[in-house]
């Protein structure tokens, strides 16, 4: 997250000065250098004052909402995480310093949340994303009905996590559920499970549902990335005698690098925040086997009135996302072509 004061696009002249209230030189090529229209000083000054006023007035609503409702809560969480507090009656008073964070590091459920989060991330990166990539390449082939396939594959993304989770509660339900019925139909009665009630299967069932809903999103991203690779490149490789695997390995895959990195980024951030689906599907159980950080936080904050401790979990989630995002931007995405990526880079 570095702050540049440089103009947005390279080929346009950089803004003349940041101290004046003049309009952005970059947005108005050729304006700044030459005083084309001789104007009286007074009128220019009035314009500048008008510009400053415009900037202030136009930014004010967004600024106010953002500071109060986005930045405010983060700061508030940092403050309340230092107290033992049940959440009621004005501001907390029982200051405990970093005790909540010490407790966090010894909380087996929280440590388990981290481990389960890691498992979900690894499963996503090594199972869900390759499948999504494969399907994107498949849909990139000229074949009949691919618009329809794309429509179907992406459809689950628009369903809410809650609806998806309730549907899959039924799909995985032990007696009437689709999965167990299917298994008995093909003679696998012995393998039937209470998928969501068995600690050793629940995380995989959860992963399946997450993938069911989200693989379409990653597929769409890959498809957009694939379609932005110029045809000439793959054609040239084929002309040079490369087989389709070699074209994939040495042309397509490297050029999809930025898209793959952003898609991994989104999966990891998604895993850190995962709540709705778990809450409805399992509530985090059985015996915490599918619990995530967000569920633990919600339990303490909204069910057990340990708001101070729950705030500490919120702060931990925030710090984990932040540190991860910064490291990822710094070390993984930095090689990406200027402007190709990154949600946080402000150039462009």
């Amino acid at each position: 997250m570095k702050t540049t004061t440089q103009g947005p696009e390279g080929h346009l002249p950089a803004p003349t000065s940041h101290r004046t209230g003049t309009r952005d030189g970059a947005a108005r090529p050729g304006y700044a250098p030459e005083p084309r229209r001789p104007r009286v000083d007074g009128s220019l000054r009035r314009r500048r004052r008008l510009d400053k006023l415009t900037v202030a007035l136009f930014l004010a609503p967004a600024m106010a909402l953002f500071l109060v409702l986005v930045v405010g809560p983060i700061v508030l969480a940092m403050y309340t995480s230092l107290f033992k507090w049940n959440g009621f009656g004005g501001l907390p008073e029982d200051f405990v310093g970093l005790d909540n964070f010490r407790r966090l590091l010894e909380d087996e459920v929280f440590i388990g949340d981290l481990r389960r989060g890691l498992i979900l991330v690894l499963l996503s990166v090594f199972v869900q994303l390759p499948v999504a990539l494969g399907l994107a390449l498949l849909l990139n082939q000229p074949m009949r009905g691919r618009a329809f396939y794309r429509l179907v594959f992406f459809a689950p993304y628009v369903l809410s996590e809650v609806i998806t989770a309730v549907l899959f509660t039924m799909v995985f339900s032990p007696n009437q559920g689709l999965v167990n019925q299917l298994m008995s139909a093909i003679g696998l009665e012995g393998q039937q499970q209470e998928w969501l009630a068995n600690p050793s299967t629940v995380l995989y069932a959860l992963f399946f549902v997450v993938s069911w809903k989200y693989f379409g999103l990653h597929m769409i991203l890959y498809l957009a990335g694939r379609q932005s690779i110029p045809k000439e490149l793959t054609e040239a490789a084929v002309t040079d005698g490369a087989g389709s695997w070699q074209v994939f390995r040495h042309v397509t895959l490297p050029l999809l690098g930025p898209t793959i990195r952003i898609s991994i980024f989104l999966s990891i951030i998604g895993a850190i925040q995962l709540f709705d689906m778990v809450w409805v599907l399992t509530g985090g159980g059985p015996i915490h086997a599918s619990e995530t950080m967000a569920v633990t936080m919600f339990q303490y904050g909204f069910r057990r009135s340990e708001v101070g401790y729950a705030s500490a979990i919120s702060v931990a989630m925030f710090l984990i996302s932040l540190v991860f995002a910064l490291l990822y931007q710094r070390f993984v995405m930095r090689r990406d072509i200027e402007g190709a990526i990154t949600t946080m880079r402000e150039k462009r």
Binding site: T3, E9, P15, R19, T20, R23, D24, A27, R28, P29, Y31, L50, K52, T54, V55, F58, L59, P61, F66, L69, V70, P73, I74, A77, L135, L138, M143, G145, Y149, A155, V158, S160, V162, I163, V166, L167, T169, M170, V171, L178, Q181, W212, L221, A224, L266, I269, Q273, D276, W279, F298, G301, F302, V307, S314, F318, S321, I341, M344, E346, R348
Partner: protein, 278 residues
């Protein structure tokens, strides 16, 4: 093997894979749709065949009750209010970020962009405390305003990059014709930006429509429940009546799928550009 036969074999495999994946998507949904037409006895004894007899009561009883229409109305109201407010506030900020030069611009823009890192999940608990202090619990504004605030980063990023593509000459000409900055924004920039506005609106509608955590904690009054909260509560209430829950879930899917059918292009374009721009 002739090349023609080669492509035909290849196409066979491509379609096979696509159909298998399609089945993984469609079968659970079809299970829900058909299950809603069965009674619970049929669900256990006749899982795969069509309902026999068809039992429409699950659907009709839900369609006749406010347990479905009320959340549908609330979700619609909240989504529309969120979108209108979000697009207005974000486009004003994006206009300033795109076309004015002022001290601290990059810092402020980075601050907004960094907001992408703070999703509801991280902020929900302090947000709840804050909304309680502001007396916004059980008020639609308690959901709408935070949704707008949390939607700002993505919307500003997309709109700013679009506003930058509008040539400076357009603005210059407007100013020379006596347009104020507000006049330019309102009468020229916004109409020109319609495709980008459509994209961010579609993203905001889907996000608001699917939001669960915030309405869950803000609305204790069932009269304000949105569709996701309604679905979850319905499932809790009729836990033993699988067929009825399936019917409710299917009905709750329909608006989202209908919207998807209309706005697929904007949604796909918006997600692709949201992830790659900024």
């Amino acid at each position: 093997m002739s090349p023609r036969r080669d492509t035909r074999v290849k196409h066979f495999w491509l379609h096979l894979v696509a159909i298998v994946v399609g089945a993984v998507i469609i079968v659970p949904v079809a299970f829900g749709v058909l299950g809603g037409f069965k009674d619970n006895g049929q669900l256990a004894t006749n899982p795969f065949k069509l309902p026999d007899p068809w039992v429409p009561e699950n659907y009709t009883s839900i369609l006749g009750s406010s347990a479905f229409w009320r959340p549908l109305f609330n979700s619609t109201l909240i989504a529309l209010a969120t979108v209108v407010l979000l697009v207005l506030v974000a486009s004003m900020a994006a206009y300033v970020f795109a076309r004015f030069n002022f001290r601290g611009r990059e810092f402020l823009y980075t601050l907004f962009a960094a907001g992408l890192m703070f999703p509801f999940t991280v902020a929900i608990l302090p947000l709840f405390v804050l909304l309680r202090e502001l007396s916004l619990l059980n008020s639609p504004l308690g959901v709408i305003l935070p949704q707008v605030a949390f939607g700002l980063p993505m919307t500003i990023i997309i709109l700013r990059s679009f506003f930058r593509t509008i040539p400076g000459e357009v603005e210059e000409a407007a100013i020379l014709d006596g347009c104020t900055p507000f006049g330019f924004y309102w009468k020229i920039l916004l109409p020109m930006a319609r495709p980008a506005l459509a994209t961010v609106s579609v993203l905001a509608i889907v996000t608001s429509w699917n939001n669960f955590m915030l309405p869950l904690v803000v609305f204790t009054d069932p009269g304000w429940w949105t569709l996701p909260v309604g679905v979850q509560q319905f499932q809790g209430q009729y836990a033993d009546d699988t067929a009825r829950v399936l019917a409710y879930v299917v009905l709750a899917m329909l608006p989202a799928l209908g919207f998807y059918a209309i706005a697929e292009r904007q949604l796909v374009g918006g997600l692709a550009s949201g992830a790659t721009k900024g």
